[in-house]
Subunit: 235 residues, 2 copies
């Protein structure tokens, strides 16, 4: 039987994969990992390693970080064909995604293209970086009647102010896009002590910071997530 | 050693617990489950059942659904003492939470009270109902530069309009609080076909609905989560 599984491998600790994800990883004979650039190491693959078969075929699909719609369309079509080839050759294939497949994952660009071709797809959820963040500091992201926003950082903090105006609690993802802009907004709103920044959450290199001066280019790793709580001072 | 583990058991399917959660469940000799009312069956316990020891001691803590601060304070203090007793008697104890401990979980009310008493606490994240929703329909909750809001439904939809005005994608939790109010807001904003409602996600009774007329009292089970996507028509 041909089937593509999308598996969320969680934020980094290999023990933060679900039983369901592990059961699928154990049986598939081919694995797809997304890559930003050719040759780049896949973090998702490193996380999944303890569970995959030794003889598994691993194929990296490059998803370039471009905004050009034509270039994107070509890439997606090419990647779709490569996944179809894998399904023809291996039957069941697992597409790994860091965190959860339904939160900012390139996998979800592929899914409609595969469903269109009547390919069977099953998605297995994963632990998001923000759930892991809450656990790492033993604090709620949101409680009771409070609301929660999840905001992917954009250059100059576009949208960050309006998100903060509405939500009690805000998760900022892709912090490294423009940490200075976040620093500026936090200062402007008197929230200098109302945030926590976690890099490499649940991984050996995990780092927790409450220091606003560290919000600057080059000091924030790519895998960093922030929680801002308007009603709570962290330190 | 005395230690309290907070474990997110996920949305319902026992295979959607993490390996880390299972490893802790296998070793603890006492388990705490939260309850809304005395005698009520614990869904979290049912999910965890395949992994717990036969001789495990299970204790239900009642967390009444009240807003009276004095009554709440008394309950929390009483529950804290009961957890401390369990730790004295059993050493390592697991507190189960449905979904993820950092998203609307009573567990996080207990944690600061226990940390204050120098009790060691470790929280293990879980799959949220909304991640499971995305997987169930093979769709992203949020992609690219889109934002995501998580809004706990309140009577009359207070806050729902402003959340919708800011966010591209909105998860509505606790839908059964006032489904009619959601229906009204969706109609008013021309979003009648831009939502999906999932009840008992990942469980045997899972039900997926795109029917706006079903958004009425008594027709929406307690465990229901909605996704509204402003830019996408579902059916």
């Amino acid at each position: 039987m041909k089937k593509l599984y999308g598996i969320g491998v969680g934020p980094g600790d290999p023990e933060l994969i679900t039983i369901k994800g592990v059961n699928v990883l154990k049986k598939v004979s081919a694995i797809v990992t997304p890559q930003g650039k050719k040759g780049e190491e896949s973090i998702a693959l490193t996380i999944a390693k303890p569970y995959i078969r030794e003889d598994v075929h691993v194929e990296s699909l490059v998803f370039p970080m471009t905004r050009d719609p034509e270039a994107l369309e070509l890439t997606w079509e090419d990647n779709r064909k490569r996944i179809e080839n894998l399904l023809d050759n291996y039957g069941e294939v697992a597409f790994l995604t860091l965190g959860d497949p339904s939160v900012f994952s390139t996998y979800m660009y592929m899914v409609p293209r595969l469903l269109e071709k009547n390919i069977s797809v099953e998605t297995i959820p994963g632990i998001t970086a923000f759930s892991a963040l809450g656990s790492a500091i033993n604090k709620s992201l949101t409680l009771d009647t409070e609301s929660l926003g999840v905001y992917p950082m954009q250059k100059k903090g576009e949208g960050l102010r309006s998100a903060l105006s509405i939500f009690d609690n805000l998760v900022v993802m892709k912090v490294s896009t423009d940490p200075e802009a976040i620093q500026e907004v936090l200062k402007e709103q008197g929230l200098e002590r109302n945030f926590v920044l976690i890099s490499h959450v649940s991984q050996r290199e995990q780092n927790i910071s409450y220091d606003i001066s560290k919000l600057s280019k080059g000091q924030v790793p790519y895998l960093s997530t922030m929680l801002i709580k308007k009603k709570e001072v962290f330190q």
